[in-house]
Amino acid sequence: MAAPASTSIPVAHRLRDAGIAGLVAMALAVPFLGLRTVNLDQGLVVQANLAYVPLAGAVVFLGRLVLGLLAAPLAKAVAPLAAWRPPAAAQRLRAWGGPLLVLAAVALPFLPFANRYVIDLGTTALIYILLATGLNITVGLAGLLDLGFAAFYAIGAYTCALTTTQLHWGFWPALVAGGLASSLFAVLLSLPILRLRGDYLAIVTLGFGEITRIVILNWQGLTGGPNGVSGIARPTLFGLTFDRRAPAGGHTFSEVTGIAYAPEHRLIFLYLVILALTALAAYTVARLRRLPIGRAWEALREDEIACRSLGINPTMVKVSAYASGALMGGLAGCFFAARQGFVSPESFGFMESATILAIVVLGGMGSQAGVIIAALFIVVLPELARGFADYRMLAFGLAMILIMIWKPGGLLSGRLPTIRLSNAKPKSVAEAA
């Protein structure tokens, strides 16, 4: 759009435009970058770092100028990228992409460079992939913005924590319970609110998310309040634990297999468990997309009124999208609880919901590959650049704005059809009538 006009804009105009932007930036910088309130013992004082003000102005001025000049060539350069659609052949390739990726992930802990740290990081990334895969059903496929997804994560985690500590269940039944509890909660919550329009619905889900967190924080008798719950059961392999010593009446993995005990075994096992869960979830979503329910989700995102005109019950479609997403959120929460051995309310605030949403939005709504890439990016990048960790949420916010402006569908938003007529073999045309 801006491309043809930009060649004709005179340099003087550009300078003026960038100058205004620079001045505004300087004004905005004064109260936050230029002046800094510092807590001292005797009270608050203001420190002046006024050098930041012209600096901010200069950066914005130059940035605006350069971007303005580069906009046209840049737009031309990325146009094919933006319009890129996966070729038809990619569908055949895609069938191999998933299994290959899973194989590579399975091999990771056994590679020479894999230490505790790498495996731990992989586990965290997989938790986020599972969470975002779930949220992607609601947001990406069904088009229902959910700002309170951390609530389902929390319910899964607390179900696991409470069933294993209070009822002394093992990890596996607790996992099932966590997923189901979360799903059930989603059904109950969503039924009354699904008539709402998109942005209202989003705000209501945010309200539910906050209510859930506040209730967990204050229901001391059940949840331990801010102290959380500890002593959550660890996952076992057919009843075998990964402890050094077997619990009363049980056996350890090293006893039975004869492999010498190593603390890494538990990490690797946890990693493989979450990998299996995530792979299963991703496979399920890929299958669901080609079933009536999955097509109805996408149709609902496209046009709810048209859905109704075809006899599709929007409420059922929405509830199923919420419930399926929440199921995966609950499973992830349950796994998270078992991995940490401890849960507390602060893991499930709005920022957690925003992080998961950022993964879905940045990766490309509806795209599983996008979710994987964005989750890896968000988990691994702060580790690579330690100083970056503080700036992580800042960068999320900025990225969400920029991506909405540049590609409102997300980075990998090219949608692959779920079926092709050219691939479906025609029946022998020996029809009657």
């Binding site: 004064v30 109260p31 539910f208």
Partner: protein, 317 residues
């Protein structure tokens, strides 16, 4: 003897009730001022400005910085300090409001509905973390700037008071509301705003500068949020980078409760939310007071999305 005790208990109960009422009105005035920003923006571009709570937070931070500077410079006159702080906070916060619309929303005006909303969420996260990084995560507290007040009623241990700050907040809010109603009903800007609410394309064809009207709407909304930020700084004396989230949610609830798009509705909703919060934490549970606010939000949206003073919209097929 018992009768006297019962009577004393009764007057005490009335006194407590009145105290909650005063606190609720003060809180409600603050929520109402923020809610106007939500409701005006929604009226004109049909978008929930999710970052509006952060605008209020920014206003509060600028107020704290300015107060601290003034105290350091030895300004002792409270009215003078207030005028300066209000002027500076409103100006800079309005600049933030203007920039946000320009950078994050204007490019998305024709985009699918959820895109500007997600952009607004991104802006909210960005601003929150920007303030946290530049000003630190610790909460900032001011020495009491405005002290004193009147004791309306006194009985033994109990006294019903109206502080100067509360009076200041309530009176300033009333004055702002009156001025604001005049602006919307009597000036060219107000007419342009109402025209844009009805039909943006038509307004543009009739020579109204739609971009400028929308920009001014953000500037005005941000200015009012800054006033609320100054008020909250005075009232509580403590702020941190996270206050915008909850206050924003409650103010949005107020806007929805009053009927989003309606200015008197925003003020009414603000007062109701303030009162509900004050009474709920006074009589039921202060730990769950935010649950009460969120529950009202959900209830109103489910039962009567058009709010108390709004008009319902008919689904177009």
């Amino acid at each position: 003897m018992g009768a006297v005790k019962a009577a004393m208990g009764f007057t005490l109960a009335v006194g407590t009730f009145l105290q909650h009422l005063i606190n609720g009105l003060t809180l409600g005035a603050i929520y109402g001022l923020i809610a106007i920003g939500y409701t005006m923006v929604y009226g004109i571009i049909r978008m929930i400005n999710f970052a509006h709570g952060e605008i209020y937070m920014i206003g509060a931070f600028i107020a704290v910085t300015t107060f601290t500077l003034l105290l350091g410079a030895g300004v002792t006159s409270v009215p003078l300090a207030l005028v300066i702080v209000l002027a500076i906070s409103c100006t800079f916060t309005a600049a933030y409001g203007w920039t946000i619309e320009r950078v994050a929303y204007r490019p998305l005006r024709t985009a699918p509905k959820l895109a500007p909303f997600i952009s607004a969420i991104g802006m909210s996260i960005l601003l929150q973390n920007f303030v946290m990084l530049t000003q630190g995560a610790r909460s900032k507290s001011l020495p009491p700037v405005m002290t004193g007040g009147v004791t309306l009623w006194h009985d033994g241990d109990f006294s019903l008071g109206l502080t100067n700050i509360q009076m200041f907040i309530i009176l300033l809010t009333v004055a702002l509301m009156a001025g604001f109603t005049l602006v919307i009903n009597r000036t060219a800007l107000g007419r342009a705003q109402r025209a844009c609410e009805q039909d943006r394309t038509m307004a543009a064809l009739l020579g109204i500068n739609v971009d400028r009207t929308i920009s001014l709407t953000f500037v005005l909304g941000a200015g009012l949020a800054a006033v609320a930020g100054v008020m909250v700084t005075l009232y509580y004396g403590v702020i941190d980078f996270y206050i915008g989230f909850l206050a924003g949610m409650k103010a949005f609830t107020a806007a929805v409760l009053g009927g989003i798009g309606s200015l008197p509705g925003a003020m009414l909703g603000g007062l109701l939310i303030g009162l509900i919060e004050a009474f709920f934490s006074g009589y039921v549970s202060s730990a769950y007071k935010d649950v009460a606010a969120f529950s009202i939000l959900i209830l109103v949206l489910v039962v009567r999305p058009s709010g108390l003073l709004g008009r319902p919209d008919i689904e177009k097929v």
